[in-house]
């Protein structure tokens, strides 16, 4: 288990927990980043931040600081 902010490019992950109850975690969950969802890390912006992930068939960009509250696990054998 690790934070989404620490994930590397190309990682296939599954969300375990979205912690915090501020504006950021609310928005992240509304955008579909809820426990159980599969996430692929695509790339980082030129200056290292923000970074781009793919979930539920669409692409989302977020800053590493915003991803720090999202706990992920390496994707197991489940279909994405």
């Amino acid at each position: 288990m690790m934070k989404l902010s620490e994930a590397g490019i190309g990682d296939h992950l599954r969300v375990v927990e979205v912690s915090g109850n501020g504006r950021v975690s609310k928005r992240l969950t509304e955008m579909g980043l809820v426990p159980g969802v599969a996430v692929l890390v695509i790339r980082a912006a030129p200056f290292g931040d923000p970074f781009q992930i793919r979930l539920r068939g669409y692409d989302l960009a977020l800053r590493r600081s915003e991803a720090a509250g999202v706990i992920v696990d390496a994707e197991g054998g489940n279909e994405a």
């Binding site: 969950t29 426990p35 695509i42 912006a45 030129p46 200056f47 692409d59 960009a61 994405a80």
Partner: protein
């Protein structure tokens, strides 16, 4: 649209709701054509778009809600959408039915808003967009099953080709006539996170209705992104796009601008020929036509910028530019989305300020608006050009760099530095806020809809022209009156007729109220090295910066037709003497004047737009005040510092 009489003209009221990028605007345009009204919701800067949808014999009022991901009221957009849907906004009638626009290629996330809508009592109909793209990507969607599971009609539409619109009208009518739905509140158990619950329901629905042959959706977008958001290539493409934009604005726009300019000149001539001499004719020609003309000449540039901005928004590139530059922008406390509005402001602050609407957080948006006019716009170019032509032409630095080019670059650089510093300070004081979340969808690339771009440009350019016809017209007349009254009798001038006319103009201006004002403010501007004649030009240029050139031409007796490169004007500036015989202008004065023009808020169109976009006179006046104070201070430091160092 706030009284019963207006609403009763319609058979029903329809609200359009949907995620940003779901195709809502395109559908709205397809439904309403040019029957649209755009205003702001009072007190806030959220656009209120309404339109008339004629389907057969029926007429529906369509309310286009702001693009939303959720109805939880965590932003102003969401709060307003929620209020409209519950009928709590007095300025729009309560909708009879909601059309939820759902992008088939992004079904799961789009359905989130739908699940929220279904928790309310309003009848819902789903307009399913992008189904053709979805099927082309080898996915299958069971529309009937989706409709059955959600309990509402699902109508596939293609807004561009007009497909599905009739069916949508039928479904909306049926749903509206069926009336409010029974809301089963028990669907979401207490104690569970409602967001998680909605998404787990969505997952079930999607599992039963969608068959993906390849889960790697948006494959084409992914390929484009691997170039456009690439660490190095992405930045290179961004620079190329900006270069193209500026090439268009500064060289291609010159043709229609010259045409407009000579058009207004011809119009002035014609009016003068047709009407008898007198105050009314002077007012029409020198006040109205010249004043409004000076602003409308910038219309081609502004329209071109609007076209570029709309294209970048509509293709999905805007999100990429924000992604590429967010790190840079966030260092000064701004959002990545502030970048393009600021860059646009190098051509003209008006489109730039209007483009800040994509920035969701109010404080970020205001900080961006407050610094946008520091970007050297095209109206400052004539001023820089004149000053450089008069004092720095033909000189070089290090033997090969043109001094003029270096100074020009310096002025642009000064504006950028001050903007950065101002943003930094504003975000830590008046607009103090933690850095706004970046969390942003990277929408799939789309071919731009020409119709959407066209309507967008028409709407924004229309606003600008409306300003020119009202506020700017009024200020032009005031400024004209200041230079026109009191009248000076000039019949005793004995020189030739042509010279006499030019000289009479100059004498008139010197003795006018503007001239008096110039003398009044002379003690204030003396520390900047400016005399009262420059004072008159400064006062006039608060209408629009480039007016400085024509006012100086009048005051120095060379006729108002002179432009920034006119040799006679340049010579007149170089030869202007004070009463003691010393030259008025030195290279230091020229630099000081340029510094003042970089920083001062001298553009009534921008002031009018800022008032509209911030919906606040206080912020507008604050902007005028702090920019002008900063300009005075910087000019003071430049002049006095320069003198201490032995220049001028």
């Amino acid at each position: 649209m706030n009284d019963g009489k207006a609403t009763s003209a319609f058979d029903r009221t329809v609200a359009l709701a949907g995620n940003p990028n779901a195709g809502k605007t395109t559908l709205f345009n397809a439904l309403t054509g040019l029957n649209q009204k755009v205003a702001n919701y009072p007190g806030v800067t959220v656009e209120r778009k309404t339109g008339v949808w004629r389907a057969g014999e029926e007429k529906a009022l369509v309310i286009d809600l702001p693009g939303l991901y959720s109805l939880d009221a965590s932003s102003i957009d969401e709060a307003i959408a929620r209020d409209v849907l519950t009928g709590e906004r007095p300025d729009v009638p309560k909708p009879d039915v909601v059309i939820a626009v759902v992008d088939a290629t992004n079904l799961e996330r789009n359905l989130y808003l739908v699940t929220q809508l279904l928790e309310g009592p309003l009848p819902v109909v789903i307009a399913l967009t992008m189904i053709d793209v979805f099927e082309k990507e080898q996915h299958e969607l069971d529309v009937e099953r989706l409709s059955a599971l959600l309990g509402v009609s699902v109508i596939p539409v293609n807004s561009r080709k007009g497909r599905g619109i009739t069916e949508l009208a039928d479904a909306a009518r049926a749903a509206a006539q069926a009336g409010p739905r029974n809301v089963n509140k028990k669907e979401i158990e207490e104690g569970t996170n409602p967001v998680f619950a909605r998404y787990s329901r969505i997952s079930e629905i999607v599992q039963q209705t969608v068959r993906h042959n390849d889960r790697a959706a948006h494959r084409l977008s992914g390929k484009i992104d691997s170039i456009l958001t690439h660490r190095f290539l992405g930045l290179a493409v961004l620079v190329a796009i900006l270069l193209l934009m500026f090439q268009a604005i500064f060289s291609w726009a010159a043709v229609p601008m010259d045409l407009l300019d000579s058009g207004f000149g011809a119009l002035s001539g014609a009016v003068r020929d047709q009407l008898p001499e007198g105050i009314l004719t002077d007012l029409l020609v020198d006040g109205v036509i010249a004043g409004v003309g000076a602003i409308l000449v910038f219309l081609p540039q502004i329209v071109l910028l609007f076209i570029f901005i709309s294209l970048l928004e509509d293709t999905g590139y805007m999100a990429r530019a924000a992604f590429l530059l967010d790190k840079l922008m966030s260092r000064v406390g701004l959002h990545g989305k502030a970048f393009l509005p600021l860059i646009s402001s190098f051509a003209c602050a008006i489109p730039g300020i209007m483009a800040t609407r994509t920035i969701e957080d109010r404080r970020d948006r205001f900080a961006t608006i407050m610094i946008a006019p520091f970007m050297s716009c095209s109206a400052r170019l004539p001023v820089y050009t004149l000053m450089i032509a008069a004092f720095f032409s033909g000189q070089t630095v290090f033997g090969f760099l043109s001094l003029g080019a270096v100074i020009m670059l310096g002025m642009y650089g000064l504006g950028i530095l001050v903007a950065i510093a101002a943003a930094f300070l504003l975000k830590r004081t008046l607009l103090k806020a933690p850095p706004p979340p970046f969390i942003m969808e990277m929408p799939s690339y789309r071919l731009p809809s020409l119709r959407t771009v066209f309507q967008n440009v028409l709407e924004r350019a229309g606003l600008f022209v409306k300003r020119a016809g009202t506020v700017i017209l009024a200020i032009s007349i005031v400024l004209w009156a200041l230079t026109y009254f009191p009248r000076t009798e000039t019949t005793d001038l004995s020189a030739g007729p042509a010279i006499a006319e030019v000289e009479a103009e100059s004498v008139q201006l010197q003795n006018s109220y503007a001239g008096m004002l110039g003398r009044t403010i002379e003690p204030v501007i003396q520390p900047l090295g400016f005399d009262w004649k420059i004072g008159v030009a400064l006062i006039a240029s608060f209408a629009a910066r480039e007016v400085l050139v024509s006012t100086l031409s009048i005051i120095y007796n060379v006729g108002k037709e002179a432009d920034a490169e006119s040799e006679t004007l340049v010579a007149a500036i170089r030869n202007a003497k004070r009463d003691d015989g010393s030259p008025v202008w030195t290279p230091l004065t020229a630099v000081t004047l340029m510094v003042f023009f970089v920083l001062a808020m001298q553009c009534m169109s921008t002031v009018a737009v800022v008032r509209r976009e911030t919906n606040s006179w206080r912020w507008t006046l604050f902007m005028v005040g702090y920019m002008t104070a900063l300009a005075y201070f910087a000019a003071f430091v430049t002049y006095q510092g320069g003198r201490m160092l032995g220049f001028g």
